[in-house]
Amino acid sequence: MLIMELFMNLFFNQALANTAIDQVESQSSNFMPPAATEIAQKFDTLYTFLLVISFISSVLVIGGMIYLAYKSRRKTEDQKTAYIAHNATLEFLWSFIPFVFFMIVFAWGWVIFYQMQNAPKDAFEVHVTGQKWYWDFTYKSGKTSSGEFVVPADTNIKLIMTSRDVLHSFFIPAFRIKQDVIPGRFTTLWFRAPKVGEYQVFCTEYCGDNHSAMLAKVKVLPKADFELWLQDNPYKGLSLAQVGQKVYQGRCIACHLTTEKKNIGPGFGGLYGKTREFNEADSLVADEEYIRESILNPNAKIVKGYPKGVMPTFAGQLKENELSGIIEYIKTLKK
């Protein structure tokens, strides 16, 4: 793999560079996002060790195969072949040596896995909730944020995670950590990110239509800035419509567009004041009451042509100012 990688580096270097990978300052050594936690570095050393061993053993086996095949190629049609049926020492060696390597790698992996699985006692706890197609983060102080996970630098963070509907999986490639998120149960992850920066979060357990859009960003801030962020009210100095826009970008954007076009759900463009046709209920003009009801109890009135039971309820997740903010923001969205 190493030679392959050097070859790939040279050939692709120019190509990879211009695809503007913003957060990768230096070119990563083994194609992974640069290790941003101490455990990630340990992970990288084990991975590189195993990669080298694999490369050498592959070259030995494949090279041996090609060499032996070529050297013993058929020269005459009635060529005699040696009747070698087995060789005990050789067979013992090539069973025992792989076994030894497997055990070394297994034990080394166990050590790192143990550290990954056991969070330090004093960790700063954050609650993560996965839901069909966005991530919610709730802090002890009651502050919540959606799609954006802000953490202090150089402190142990412990995530207590659950899901509101189906299986999801919280994956931060830069920290080399991943853990499925199961409805009806809590699972945990922990990390300590020394460097300030922004890291990508993916959902890696298939969860339906927008599984590939269920992304989030981890923002590691210096401790002081983090305390400030924790205190300040995200909606300070914003009009109701601007609050609604922030809530929209955190949650509704996963399924609804600001134009009239259909995504997973109907578009919000020009919604306010327009008459709406429904599958079962009779049609009505879209007003504040209808929008509020569609957020708290979406299955009450389903727009014609849309399946029932896709939009989850947001009751208990939006505060009063966020709810009225959404309504105001939708009012501003013309066709």
């Binding site: 013993s72 067979e91 792989p98 992996g109 143990y114 299986l167 699972t187 357990e205 298939y206 239509d209």
Partner: protein
């Protein structure tokens, strides 16, 4: 009915009805060949659609919901209809009795029933398209597979029925190997292809019923809401994963063991040399079959399984790696001091060893718990299992096609065309799946409809590779069809192989052997 001279299994009876009600294992093998080739074409088409959609990061040809159905049907068709029946049903059905010197499998009518189970199961699975398809992935993980309102129930019932096809084939092979061997053929004089089919049959009999009950429970979840796997009613979705993988990991050994059997046949025939370590290969087949039932948890390292269970599964997975490695080394050692002829089946066999070695070492990387935390459900895993499934089982399937076509239809094939198909498939394969190792390392998750822009270049390379594989398989199809209808007569033993099936006539008679063969020596007595 004893066949009259000049007749063989192909022309002794004609008309569709004689085929649809045949009790001849050779005809059932041919019927399986046709059905698996059709399903492979459909599954392959879905693969091409997936790769076309992934050409660029946003939307290429379809929306997310439709892409998820491509991904689900590609997985389900390839697993349940192509690669599990594949080698055992086509070449196992045709050649197991021949290689054992038997007249037929133990229960010919059960064998026919097994084919009907596959066809009926496939039909039921495609009914799901009427109820707007299925989008759960071939693994049907709950609670998503319970809630999604589309045709998933039909795909689940289809897979349930196809499970019986696998059980009945396995049952037939175990009984045939135990009870119908030719006089003089002790267990250690059986060809290694028969050994691998025997090990596969044991897995099919023990593992498939558990899939049966799991899919039945999932169907009951969707119809009655029984709540066994649904957290809303107290069930545990991780328990579904335990039950599902208890079948599905042994199932990947159902896929690879027959391929290993084919490779043992090809390597010995085309290097005209006795196999190196016959007993080692035979026992490692059984070893893999046994240990394969202890390792399923390595699919669940990050899925909420306890970390202690994860460690134990990781240790056992390392154990199952050892017999697999032993087999590969034995094949390479067989080449030493042989007289190797690079016909296309041999090229496919050497290609198998090349790709299976890469698949194997990446398997060990994934078996380490710490590394799997990063690589789980990313494209690294997609690349790994394609290296062992396409690089392994499909390369062996192609090698088996060209190796045994002369015995099935009595015609030779156009050698240069077959080699060309190998070149296209081998190169296309590497161009498609090697970049996916890199994508996986970079963190691109699996089953993603749209991906971040930085993954676009490697995905484009992969898509071009996929088209190359498609061309390769079309060339191979052309060569096979040309050989069946217009190939030159092949004679009894075109490759000079030593196993029993080459002692039967050019196109075997209904009874396989006019005179019951008596076995005196091992299967690979090349001098």
């Amino acid at each position: 009915m004893y066949s009259t001279p000049g007749k063989n299994y192909l022309n002794e009876a004609s008309g569709l009805w004689s085929w649809l009600t045949t009790k001849d294992h050779k005809r059932i093998g041919v019927m399986y060949m046709i059905s698996v080739m059709i399903f492979f074409a459909i599954g392959g088409a879905f693969a091409m659609l997936i790769r076309t959609e992934l050409f660029s990061s946003g939307k290429d040809i379809v929306d997310a919901a439709v892409y998820n159905q491509f991904m689900t049907f590609h997985g389900a068709i390839m697993v349940f209809m192509v690669i599990i029946p594949g080698i055992p049903a086509i070449f196992g059905n045709f050649f197991l009795p021949l290689q054992l010197g038997a007249k037929d499998v133990a229960f010919p009518r059960v064998n026919l029933m097994s084919w009907y189970c596959l066809i009926i199961g496939a039909a039921i699975s495609f009914v799901s398209l009427i109820y707007n398809g299925a989008d759960t992935g071939w693994t049907f993980y709950t609670p998503y597979s319970i809630g999604t309102d589309n045709g998933t129930l039909w795909l689940v019932l289809g897979a349930f029925v196809m499970g019986f096809s696998s059980i009945l084939t396995g049952l037939n092979f175990v009984v045939t190997v135990h009870k119908l061997r030719a006089p003089g053929m002790t267990f250690f004089r059986m060809p290694l292809f028969v050994w691998s089919l025997y090990a596969t049959a044991i897995i099919q009999i023990i593992a498939t019923p558990v899939l049966g009950i799991t899919l039945l429970l999932l169907a009951a979840e969707r119809i009655l809401g029984i709540g066994v796997f649904d957290p809303k009613l107290g069930g545990d979705p991780v328990l579904f994963q335990h039950f599902f993988w208890f079948y599905s990991h042994p199932a990947v050994y159902i896929m690879i063991l027959p391929a290993m059997g084919v490779i043992s046949e090809l390597i010995t025939t085309y290097s005209r040399k006795v196999i190196f370590g016959y007993k080692a290969i035979a026992f490692s087949s059984l070893g893999i079959a046994a240990v394969s039932f202890f390792v399923w948890g390595h699919h669940m390292f990050v899925s909420g399984q306890s970390s202690l269970a994860g460690i134990i599964f990781s240790f056992l997975t390392m154990l199952v790696g050892v017999p697999t490695a032993i087999k590969t080394f034995n094949w390479v050692a067989t080449l030493y001091k042989g007289s190797v002829k690079f016909d296309s089946p041999m090229l496919y066999a050497l290609g198998f060893i090349f790709l299976f070695t890469i698949g194997g070492v990446t398997g060990i990387i994934l078996a380490v718990t710490a590394l799997d935390v990063h690589f789980h459900d990313t494209y690294f895993v997609v690349a790994h299992f394609h290296y062992v499934m396409v690089g392994g089982t499909l390369m062996a399937l192609m090698g088996a096609f060209f190796y045994w076509l002369p015995k099935m239809f009595g015609k030779l094939y156009y050698e240069a065309g077959a080699r060309l198909s190998f070149v296209f498939i081998f190169l296309g394969f590497n161009v498609t799946f090697f970049p996916q190792f890199v994508l996986g390392a970079m963190g691109m998750p699996r089953r993603y409809y749209s991906y971040l822009p930085e993954y676009q270049l490697l995905n484009r390379v992969s898509t071009l590779g996929a088209y190359t594989i498609g061309i390769g398989f079309l060339i191979a199809l052309a060569v096979i069809l040309h050989s069946i209808f217009k190939g030159k007569p092949a004679g009894k033993n075109p490759w000079g192989a030593k196993t029993l099936e080459w002692e039967a006539d050019e196109i075997p008679i209904h009874e396989n052997f006019a005179v019951q063969p008596v076995v005196t020596g091992g299967p690979y007595e090349y001098r």
